[in-house]
């Protein structure tokens, strides 16, 4: 049904939303275009609007540091997505078994989402530090030879970031799946039970397949979070050792604000935008179409 339209003052609603939309569209599309222009400019330490074509993108492709960032993105992204989706789905299914303390457990699983990544990063940095942290603890518990130096190992530090990321986001995924589970029609399950199907079988064959829409929207949310990951890296390793744990977001930040390579930074931001758009635009398109 159409919402009522305004006959007497048709301009008023438009006038009321105009400032917000001007601000927001400037912020979103105006700045995207501007950043796009910076990425084809000769900007280095200061913005310089001489057009240089795709030179910055060429430099980006040749940059070792950007390759490291992309490799890390692949490692971190796949572990982060698989880890939080897997644990989130498991917890949602277990919580759906008429657990009496569900409310308390849900609160416990979700609290990391209410805290800044900088806070949790600081905590994980302390826990995983090779001096007095986990290593010290395990040695006191009798494992005299236990060593755990992943956080300062250029090849392993990215796994620490993935661990902290999964810890932070698994509860969020759990909440999304749990909402999906609660939306499933009870009668299908009852019918299957009458037919004598076992509980694991019902989950595998009926419930999990019917979660498909929730699965895709969750996957979309989690993967765009992975691409945007920034705070956690800064707090845990600051991209180090060296630039061993750089991700595209920290690469962009380093180039733009400490290395005096604004053009390169803008180009890497555009690459990130393209990656997020490739995931989000089809999703938004289908969401808005199905609603009509």
């Amino acid at each position: 049904m159409a919402a009522p339209s305004s006959a007497s003052t048709p301009w008023l609603p438009k006038l009321v939303v105009a400032p917000s939309f001007v601000l927001a569209f400037f912020f979103i599309y105006g700045l995207i275009a501007w950043n796009g222009y910076l990425s084809v400019s000769a900007s280095r330490l200061l913005p310089n609007y001489d057009f240089v074509g795709l030179r910055q993108y060429g430099l980006l492709l040749e940059s070792d540091r950007f390759h490291v960032a992309l490799t890390n993105m692949a490692i971190f992204g796949s572990l982060f997505i698989a880890g939080s989706m897997g644990i989130g789905l498991l917890l949602a299914i277990l919580l759906d078994q008429k657990i009496r303390a569900e409310g308390v457990l849900r609160t416990v699983y979700l609290y990391p989402m209410a805290i800044s990544f900088i806070v949790t990063g600081t905590a994980w940095k302390w826990i995983l530090n090779p001096g007095l942290g986990l290593e010290h603890l395990m040695r006191q518990w009798g494992f005299a030879d236990f060593t755990f130096g992943w956080l300062i190992d250029p090849d392993k530090a990215i796994y620490c970031i993935a661990l902290a990321g999964v810890w932070q986001s698994a509860g969020f995924v759990m909440a999304l799946f749990l909402a999906g589970l609660r939306g499933i029609d009870d009668s299908i399950i009852k019918a299957a039970q009458v037919d004598g199907a076992s509980l694991p079988r019902i989950y595998l064959r009926i419930i999990i397949p019917s979660l498909r829409p929730v699965f895709f929207s969750t996957l979309m949310v989690v993967s765009h979070l992975a691409i945007k990951a920034f705070d956690l890296v800064i707090a845990l390793t600051a991209g180090g050792p060296g630039y061993a744990t750089d991700l595209p977001a920290t690469f962009m930040y380093a180039m733009s604000f400490s290395r005096g390579q604004i053009g390169l930074g803008a180009a890497s931001a555009t690459v990130m935008l393209a990656a997020v758009a490739a995931i989000v635009v089809p999703y938004l398109y289908s969401e808005l179409r199905t609603r009509k």
Binding site: L90, M113, K190, K228, M252, V276, T290
Partner: protein, 289 residues
């Protein structure tokens, strides 16, 4: 739905509970470690272990983190950063929520040609990577003369917040019956009167969701804070990061943990008091329709 699980104690049931509790322990361990570490002095940290309880708990590192700990050469603790965050978060949350509610009202009850398309275009702003706005926005703030100030941060948070606040209110108001608005119009009520007398009084739940969502996001923001703030306008997240990265002769983990807890307390408090609304914001931002 809820699967009909047996109520009696079975192996299956024990397995479910065991797994749930192991994960609960996994989620709680970092918080536990933060709290016990913040209550120890450095001797207890060296002699004890990560998990051990403090032998003589004290709040010394909390006081130190609050107003004496050094970030770089500045030794005023987290207090100035905490104040900055408060000064930033209150106007940014209020304005972005207010704008979102008016936008949502128009986009649901006073639609005009093109308003749905505009809404769809706005939604992209919820998801886009903020890296694309950093460089141009720092130039804009410079031209406006509010670079490196709290005002610049407030403006950025308002602009970045409009898409999600509009989304929250619009999706909520779509559920209010149109008849309500029509009847009021027949009685001669106008745009603002209907908003104030009918729509706003029905908005309490979504208002709470949006306020909590914006508060949590803006308080926890680090990216804008680190890029757009100056020496005197850094928010708490930036202060905490600088504090824990300040290298001194002795790394004071207890002070770091107390500082991290101070930075986390406001949002953690809101979460504990009104977690239900926070979760609604989380899921509303992810699954539309």
């Amino acid at each position: 739905m809820s699967a009909a699980a047996p109520r009696r104690l079975t192996v299956q049931r024990l397995l479910v509970w065991g797994t749930l509790l192991v994960f609960a322990a996994w989620f709680l361990t970092p918080l536990y470690v933060m709290v016990v570490t913040s209550l120890k002095d450095m001797d207890q940290i060296r002699s004890g272990s990560l998990m051990s309880l403090p032998t003589s708990p004290g709040l010394a590192s909390w006081f130190k983190a609050w107003d004496q700990a050094c970030t770089g050469v500045d030794c005023r603790g987290l207090k100035p950063f905490f104040v900055n965050s408060l000064l930033m978060v209150v106007p940014a949350v209020a304005v972005s929520t207010l704008l979102g509610s008016v936008n949502g009202y128009v986009l649901s009850k006073w639609r005009f040609r093109g308003s749905e398309t505009m809404f769809a275009m706005l939604l992209f702003g919820v998801f886009m990577p903020m890296q694309v706005v950093l460089l141009p926005m720092s130039q804009v703030l410079g031209w406006l003369g509010i670079a490196s100030s709290i005002w610049g941060l407030i403006l950025v948070h308002i602009m970045a917040g409009i898409p999600s606040t509009t989304l929250f209110f619009r999706n909520y108001y779509v559920g209010l019956p149109d008849e309500l608005i029509k009847a009021a119009k027949l009685d001669g009520a106008g745009f603002w009167l209907i908003f104030r007398r009918i729509v706003l009084p029905l908005s309490t739940p979504i208002l709470v969701v949006t306020l909590i969502w914006q508060f949590t996001n803006i308080w926890n923001d680090f990216l804008y804070g680190v890029v757009f703030s100056g020496a005197d306008s850094k928010p708490i997240t930036v202060g905490l990061n600088n504090l824990s990265n300040t290298t001194s002769s002795v790394k004071e983990y207890n002070v770091d943990m107390a500082a991290a807890l101070i930075a986390a307390l406001p949002t953690l408090f809101v979460y504990v008091v009104a977690g239900k609304y926070f979760v609604r914001g989380l899921t509303a931002g992810a699954v539309k329709g």
